[in-house]
């Protein structure tokens, strides 16, 4: 069994290639001057620069947190490139204007930039390193009053909305990495769904880190006004470099009365090699605010990549009757480390939350679920259901569950279930006796294990996630 699993573990990274296009890169290092330069390059208004500088000054007073169950060598923040943008930077009206080299990159990644391709019906805002390259379907969405554009563009075109909501869920002082992001973020996605509007298509962003040693600091802001709804997809892939790249994004979601936001991620950053060299550090702050009554925010994540994944997509349930959901699959292999989970903060009455977490560990990886459910004193009749399942492949990996439960009134109801399983020799023999080889058997068992989460993903993503898990485990059984 362990020999099988080891084979499965040695799957090379498919997206490891570098696109050689001219980039506009600034020198390594971080200072107020660098921040001013970023802000100037992006032609930002003064308030935006102030936001950055305040965040930076606060960040200087903070210490990098060490509480997560992950281990990595000290990050030298002066050894990171904080701005890298592909040239030319002129605005593009259609796909045809996109740099052919870049288009080939996306084709290799399987990002369907062409409208007629597989993801037809999905508007894609592509972030290549730090600048949004093109936004499809923008016109169609604009007719409905939906704004879906790069963050930089939103700062220029819709400053009042950005100013109103930026930092309202994740303040610039929130945590070490959020403060860093607030100071140096270069681009990201902005999405605004006006009152009463149901976004007619899934919105999608594909992130890709290209420049070596460039930290990627995206900023995503999604606002659903009263009665609005949107489903947002985020896909992440990075090429292969030996040095570790820091990815410290901030995602803020705001749902007003009766609004609904569904945020799905399939994360496939480079994991490093089987000895743990290289790979992405994915230290991300994602938080949704159910601000209005009856609002709903749902996070679904499939985390298969990164050397280290450290993130807790969370919901603050402020509005009465609001609902928060978190569905997660985290797969770790080789020497990958993941400390991921969620926080559900119940403030309003009759608020409900649901947590379904599936952790799969293989190789010598460490996979931890960490989750907090907090029911405040005014959250009458709040309810939470949590289910955390772990599956182990082989005997050199580890799985941990750290649930924190804090209930401050006696009408709250919190349920927590957890299980740990191992793929057994007897199961593999049963499959084999029905003609099914070990790899297909493991993939089938794992897909079955993750079914409750995959069911939450939009169709195209579910298919991708299923394939991705198969790919990640290919060769570790045989």
């Amino acid at each position: 069994m362990s020999a099988m699993l080891e084979k499965l573990i040695n799957q090379p990274y498919k997206h490891g290639f570098v696109t050689s296009i001219a980039e506009d890169v600034i020198a390594k290092g971080l200072s107020e001057d660098v921040i001013r330069m970023i802000s100037k390059k992006k032609n930002e208004p003064d308030w935006m620069l102030e936001f950055r500088l305040n965040a930076y000054r606060h960040w200087l007073t903070m210490r990098e947190p060490r509480w997560a169950n992950v281990r990595y060598s000290t990050i030298d923040y002066q050894d990171i490139i904080y701005y890298a943008a592909p040239k030319p930077k002129k605005k593009l009206a259609s796909m045809d204007e996109v740099d052919p080299e870049l288009r080939r990159t996306f084709e290799k990644l399987g990002v369907p930039l062409h409208e007629q391709k597989a993801l037809a019906g999905v508007a894609v805002d592509v972030v290549f390193d730090s600048v949004s390259v093109t936004t499809t379907y923008k016109k169609k969405l604009a007719e409905l009053g939906i704004i879906f554009c790069s963050f930089s563009e939103a700062v220029q075109e819709h400053p009042e909305l950005v100013k109103k909501y930026l930092g309202s869920v994740v303040p610039p002082t929130d945590n070490f990495f959020a403060s860093l992001n607030s100071a140096v973020f270069t681009d990201g996605s902005f999405c605004f769904i006006p009152k009463g509007t149901k976004c007619p298509m899934d919105l999608s962003t594909y992130f890709r880190i290209n420049t070596q040693d460039s930290g990627q600091f995206e900023r995503t802001l999604i606002i659903a006004e009263e009665g609005a709804s949107v489903s947002y997809l985020e896909g992440c892939t990075a090429p292969k470099f030996d040095t570790n790249q820091l990815h410290a994004a901030v995602v803020e979601l705001i749902a007003l009365d009766n609004a609904e936001i569904k945020y799905s991620t399939v994360q496939n950053w480079y994991t490093g090699d089987e000895n743990g060299v290289g790979g992405i550090y994915n230290f991300v702050t994602k938080r949704g605010l159910c601000k209005g009554v009856n609002s709903k925010i749902s996070w679904t994540q499939v985390e298969t990549g990164s050397a280290i994944t450290w993130k807790y997509p969370s919901c603050v349930l402020l509005g009465d009757n609001s609902i928060g959901e978190f569905y997660s699959v985290a797969l770790t292999n080789h020497k990958q480390q993941a400390d991921t989970g969620t926080k559900m903060t119940h403030i309003g009455r009759n608020t409900r939350s649901r947590i379904i977490s599936k952790g799969i560990s293989a190789g010598r990886s460490i996979n931890s679920y960490r989750g907090q459910v907090k029911i405040g004193p005014r959250a009458q009749n709040a309810r939470n259901y949590s289910q955390c399942d772990s599956m182990l492949l082989g005997s050199a990996c580890s799985a941990n569950t750290f649930p924190y439960i804090d209930v401050q009134n006696n009408s709250g109801k919190v349920e927590h279930e957890a299980s740990t399983s191992k793929i057994g020799e007897d199961q593999l023999f049963y499959f084999a006796q029905r003609g099914i080889g070990a790899e297909a058997a493991v993939t089938t068992i794992i897909n079955g294990f993750c079914k409750d989460v995959f069911n939450q993903l939009p169709m195209e993503f579910a298919v991708e996630a299923t394939k991705l898990l198969g790919l990640k485990l290919e060769g570790s059984v045989g």
């Binding site: 020799e425 023999f429 499959f431 084999a432 006796q433 079955g448």
Partner: protein
């Protein structure tokens, strides 16, 4: 019956598990169109024999050979044996939480079809196909949506094995204590399902402790296994005799014969 060909030939097969010799020289020839019953007391090696034929990794073959359709079966990994038409109905079917019965059956069927060069079925086509198969054992269609064997009763698991047999249409089916855990009604249903699947070009080996299954699946040969050897072979009447007299006399007779020789 005149065109029978040899499907399985076991010669002097011995095998051990965890260093302990369980099979001590088995000889058995199975031709197409035949039903063989292997009977014997608990611990005689019947189930070990079934698992060795299927290629279970816990069992090490220490001697002898097994030819299946003239080829060395012992050289083939378990999945290749299955694809070549060797089916084992498990004594203790394994639970696979999260994987639906229909998805599992379709994966198995399509893998088999690919190996045979046959046509694979999409989920809708397969649904029609499998719904016919489950009728054989009177299984409710709701079982198709449930996880493989998870939460099934003992009898339901055994029926599910026969459904898999019906879907895969094996050349050589080995039924390992398929009767255990079945009440008489379920036993009849399972037996009729198996009889339905029996054709002149197939063969079945029924491993059982009790004679009662053999009232419904009538064997051409009955073999008695004792301490890892086949100590007596007879026709179907031998089963009834064993039911009446137990196993001890067979062993005594075998020892006497050997002593005389």
């Amino acid at each position: 019956m005149s065109k029978n060909t040899v499907l399985l030939e076991v010669r002097n097969l011995s095998a051990q598990v965890a260093g302990k010799e369980i099979l001590k020289g088995i000889d058995l020839t199975v031709e197409t169109g035949e039903v063989h019953a292997i009977m014997g007391p608990n611990g005689s090696g019947k189930s070990t024999f079934a698992k060795v034929l299927a290629g279970h990794a816990d069992y090490t073959v220490t001697g002898g050979e097994v030819l299946y359709q003239g080829k060395n079966l012992l050289d083939m990994p378990p999945e290749a044996r299955s694809r070549a038409g060797v089916f084992l109905a498990f004594q203790y079917p394994v639970e696979i939480p999260g994987v639906s019965n229909s998805a599992f059956l379709r994966l198995a069927y399509n893998t088999m079809q690919a190996a045979r060069g046959g046509e694979e079925l999409d989920p809708l086509e397969f649904d029609d196909f499998v719904r016919e198969k489950i009728k054989l054992v009177g299984m409710d269609p709701s079982f198709l949506d449930r996880s493989v064997n998870a939460g099934f009763s003992g009898g339901e698991k055994k029926r599910n094995e026969i459904v898999q047999m019906a879907v895969l249409d094996p050349k050589l089916a080995v039924l390992d204590e398929t009767d255990s855990g079945l009440d008489i009604d379920a036993l009849k249903i399972v037996a009729s399902g198996v009889n339905h699947l029996m054709r002149p070009e197939n063969a079945i080996i029924v491993v059982t402790h009790y004679q009662r299954l053999l009232n419904y699946i009538v064997p051409d040969y009955v073999h008695v296994m004792e301490s890892g050897q086949i100590v007596k072979t007879g026709g179907k009447d031998l089963a009834s005799e064993l039911e009446k007299r137990g196993y001890d006399w067979v062993r005594a007779e075998f020892d006497a014969t050997r002593a005389a020789a």
